[in-house]
Amino acid sequence: MIFPYEIPLLLLLLITAAGAIMVKDLISAVLLLGSYSFFLALVWAGLGAVDVAFVEAVVGAGLATVLFLLTLFGTAPKDNRLRRPPPSLITLIVFPLLGVLLLYAASDLPEFGDPNSPASVRISPVYLEQSYTDTHTPNVVTSVLMDYRSLDTMVETVVIFASGIACALLLRRHG
């Protein structure tokens, strides 16, 4: 089921994504990517995934834009050598074909909000019914992330820690 206010949002997503690819100036492309993330955050919020919307808005529209801009200012903001070659014949054939295949596969997906879909019959009801008596945390997302799957979250934190150290070491210029 698609709500009517989502159609303009999806159109804006398509426009900003295409614009980020087509535009000549790299800084404009970065800013278009930021606005794409912002519209995507609105879509997540409309679907009820407010946590994902938070992450998309802060990381996609905020942090990633700053990182892209710093990289551009650190290298060459007005580099004109970045002309892309025209798309090859294989690209023009394969990618529309892939899109048609994906649309064909999407017709087998369960409907949005279907209570009998495989994702919502096995483990989700258990979490939703028992999380408050188990963990005394009103927010189910937090109780799943921090209590039921706490070890997962810990190893994710290890990944962030390791990637931060790797970035700091790789981007260091002297010594």
Partner: protein
């Protein structure tokens, strides 16, 4: 190398906005038990506030000295998270089973919520420091050298 911005409008807005961003980050971090939010997003918002302060005032301003000190804390968040798990094991229970936290005078429910808050603080610290350190290593090589050489 990030130089301070030379517009008074940006400075005034920054003085007003950065505390608001930081307080909102803390709110998201501690509100994660009751609504949307949590350690990861709260940490990114806190880190973004610090990055904003460095972008506006330059990294030699007195406001940014705190950020330089924070950079040395990489890994403390990880230590907090794993340390909570270790405390649970000291209590004779399973790793990261918060009901086994050895804190006298607390019921099981309070122990669980305290454990979740502590681990979220750990995640937030780790994410914030990582975001700030990536931005610094992209922009200013001197700071990274200083933090390595002490």
């Amino acid at each position: 190398m990030i130089r301070p911005h030379d517009s008074i409008i940006v400075h005034t807005l920054g003085r007003f906005l950065i505390p608001v961003v930081q307080i909102f980050g803390l709110y998201v971090l501690f509100f994660g038990q009751y609504g949307p939010g949590g350690g990861f997003v709260g940490g990114v918002i806190l880190g973004t506030g610090m990055i904003l302060s460095v972008l506006i005032f330059g990294h030699d301003a007195s406001r940014s000295q705190i950020v330089k000190k924070v950079l040395h804390g990489d890994g403390v968040g990880m230590l907090i998270y794993a340390g909570v798990g270790g405390l649970c094991m000291i209590g004779g229970g399973e790793f990261l089973n918060y009901a086994n936290l050895e804190i006298p005078g607390l019921e099981t429910a309070s122990r669980r919520s305290l454990g979740i808050v502590l681990t979220q603080i750990g995640v937030a610290l780790d994410v914030a420091v990582t975001a700030v350190s990536i931005v610094f290593s992209l922009s200013a090589e001197e700071i990274i050298e200083d933090s390595i050489n002490g």
